[in-house]
């Protein structure tokens, strides 16, 4: 999919992808590491590169913005309520006169942190389960894969709403529950690679040299799963941010006065629909949209860059 999209976007990219440096590679090419090779490949994906810059900028804005801006995300100022976007308030203000820009940035901290934290948890569980299932095989594999099936069959949004309602909408709860419901793809990926590599000569060689199971898994098998795991993790960030926003939008996630993008959209509903204050809903949603779009593009770029079939040129 990603590759077809890329082709349509920029037909000339196909040529450069097939013949990276023209005839230069025919000569003696200096050996390159996996990462520098991936980076060279990634740079050719123009939209992915732009998206990476957008994300970096967004991260920076979210970190320093609330410190630099002359407003406090929770300070109420009735004199400035319900203002459309202006120079003083580029994203307008809400019914309590709170500056929307600083709230969007403050909420962005939560949304981006949730996205990253969820993926770390999902990756940890997924890699562990997948590695055990794929390496041990047999009964353990069977049992763990049934567990994966079970988790796959759970309507995640419903489960998340239920558990967060039960346990309370704290950062740790939300992140943990989201992570617990998003590790399965990762587990299947890792397991698949392990199963296909388990009996390969290099593993046998390591084993006959006396390498322990742990060493074989960590040194010889896990590095082979790195590329698909990185791609899945990147795309997973988008899903996690979207789910957290939906949760907050439904009023189940983070509670006021804490701003999050989903929460701001929820609070904006009445103002947008009844009073036509479009800026209340437009900007928080735009941030979610841009973030997810950028993350998806970066994921696409990484998939192209890390595809092992394109290495070794």
């Amino acid at each position: 999919m990603s590759k077809t999209i890329k082709r349509t976007r920029d037909a000339s990219a196909v040529a450069t992808a097939v013949w990276p440096d023209g005839a230069a590679t025919l000569g003696a090419a200096a050996p390159r590491s996996l990462w520098s090779d991936a980076w060279r490949q990634f740079r050719r994906h123009r939209l992915a590169l732009i998206s990476l810059a957008v994300l970096a900028l967004m991260g920076l804005a979210v970190i320093i913005g609330p410190e630099v801006l002359p407003y406090d995300p929770e300070r109420i100022d009735f004199a400035a309520k319900n203002q459309p976007p202006s120079l003083a308030h580029p994203m307008g203000t809400d019914e309590l006169g709170r500056d929307q820009l600083v709230r969007v940035l403050d909420g962005g901290r939560i949304s981006l942190a949730v996205g990253l934290a969820v993926v770390v948890i999902a990756m940890t569980i997924g890699v562990a389960v997948g590695a055990i299932a794929g390496y041990a095989g047999g009964l353990a594999d069977n049992a763990l894969m049934r567990l994966v099936d079970t988790f796959y069959s759970m309507p995640s949004l419903f489960v998340i709403i239920l558990v967060v309602t039960l346990v309370g909408p704290r950062f740790a709860t939300i992140v943990l529950v989201l992570g617990l419901l998003r590790w399965m793809t990762m587990a299947r990926l890792v397991r698949g690679t392990f199963l296909s590599l388990r009996e390969k000569e290099f593993v046998e060689a390591a084993r006959s040299l006396g390498a322990s199971h742990v060493r074989i898994v960590v040194r010889h098998l896990l590095p082979n799963t790195l590329s698909p795991v990185i791609v899945a993790a990147t795309l997973g960030i988008a899903g996690a941010i979207l789910t957290e926003s939906a949760l907050s939008f439904l009023g189940v996630g983070f509670q006021p006065p804490q701003a999050t993008w989903g929460r701001m959209l929820q609070e904006a509903q009445r103002a947008v629909v009844n009073d036509g204050q479009w800026w209340r809903g437009f900007f928080p949603g735009l941030m979610i949209f841009l973030t997810i779009l950028a993350v998806n593009f970066v994921g696409d770029g990484l998939r192209d860059a890390l595809d092992p079939r394109r290495f070794g040129r």
């Binding site: 999919m1 077809t4 999209i5 082709r7 349509t8 976007r9 037909a11 049934r146 567990l147 099936d149 079970t150 796959y152 069959s153 759970m154 309507p155 995640s156 949004l157 419903f158 489960v159 709403i161 239920l162 558990v163 309602t165 039960l166 346990v167 988008a238 979207l242 926003s245 939906a246 939008f249 439904l250 009023g251 189940v252 989903g262 959209l265 904006a268 509903q269 947008v272 629909v273 009844n274 036509g276 479009w278 809903g281 437009f282 928080p284 949603g285 735009l286 979610i288 949209f289 997810i292 779009l293 998806n296």
Partner: protein
């Protein structure tokens, strides 16, 4: 063949059990339960320790955990899903009341998805690199990144607030008593926005699948043979490509349905449609655990059912797959 169907259906049973165990464990975590008021020392406080024990025995709360699970599961199978903490109504009846709206919404959204995604995906693949393909793939990529609740809110701003064309909430105007055709028009006007929002995300992802499946098929040897024997591109496409491309797409299609069902939670909440999804969010607000559990079980059941359907369709459609 029917052997495979039966075996595959039997495999769904442990899944259902697994999910019911998870739901049961969650249920055990719920604060309260049937004796919350009696146990609460700050409450009426008229219950003696002895009475409490008798009540616990009556509700089987002293039984070992697995016994309680079996009891609970037995009740479920018999159709006793408990009663709502909020209304006191049986859970199953409450869900039954709300399900038609959700079915209407997801059914229409599914239809719209089919009508849009197939032609767009097929044309996009048949004319790869054309302007149409470029626009379609870009739109699809944007479509999968749009949060549905944002889209819905912006729709409401444009079509309800600014233009005043479409009503914002519900499935019908309660102040008007429409009859016949007028009632249909009224219902349709209420459904346009929710259905569009719900259909958009699934259309975006399905278009990508259809296009990818078509491209895959168009590069096959039998397509070259079809063209080589003198078929027009159109005939080759209709007679040979579509059927083959349908195989992976149908599978995705079956999996799209539970997604729509779950996605309706958000759409129903924004447009104030009294469906199952909205009931779920309302119940979460009220901490009405029996209702939450009931909807969760139904949704899980749907996911398993459509997974099963997808698998069976796949094995039926592709003669290369032979299951014993």
């Amino acid at each position: 063949m029917s052997h495979y169907v039966i075996r595959r259906a039997l495999q769904a049973i442990p899944l259902l059990i697994g999910i019911s165990v998870i739901v049961f464990v969650l249920l055990q975590m719920t604060p309260g339960g049937p004796l919350a008021i009696a146990e609460n020392p700050g409450g009426s406080g008229r219950v003696t320790q002895e009475q409490l024990e008798r009540l616990r025995a009556k509700y089987g709360l002293d039984d070992p955990l697995y016994m309680r699970y079996l009891h609970w599961a037995g009740d479920l199978v018999r159709g006793d899903w408990g009663t709502s903490f909020n209304t006191g109504q049986p859970v199953l009846a409450m869900i039954g009341e709300r399900i038609p709206a959700t079915l209407l919404l997801t059914g229409l959204a599914f239809l719209v998805t089919l009508i849009l995604a197939f032609p767009i995906g097929i044309i996009s693949a048949a004319r790869q690199y054309s302007l149409f393909d470029y626009i379609a793939t870009t739109a699809a990529f944007l479509g999968i990144a749009v949060p549905s609740f944002w889209l819905a809110l912006m729709f409401l701003y444009v079509f309800t607030f600014s233009l005043g064309w479409l009503p914002a909430v519900g499935l019908g105007d309660p102040r008007q008593q429409y009859e016949g055709f007028a009632a249909v028009v009224d219902r349709a006007r209420h459904l346009i926005m929710p259905v569009s929002v719900l259909a958009l995300v699934s259309t975006a992802s399905l278009t990508r699948y259809v296009r990818a499946a078509m491209l895959d098929v168009l590069g096959q040897d039998y397509m070259r043979t079809a063209r080589g024997k003198g078929l027009t591109e159109r005939a080759a496409l209709m007679r040979h490509a579509l059927k083959n491309a349908a195989i992976p797409v149908v599978t995705i299609l079956a999996l799209e349905i539970p997604d729509l069902f779950i996605g309706s939670v958000i759409v129903e909440s924004i447009f104030a449609i009294s469906g199952m999804g909205r009931l779920f969010v309302e119940s979460a607000d009220l901490r009405d655990y029996p209702v939450l559990m009931g909807i969760l079980l139904i949704a899980s059941f749907l996911v398993i059912l459509f997974n099963l359907i997808a698998d069976i369709l796949y094995s039926r459609l592709d003669p290369r797959i032979r299951y014993r």
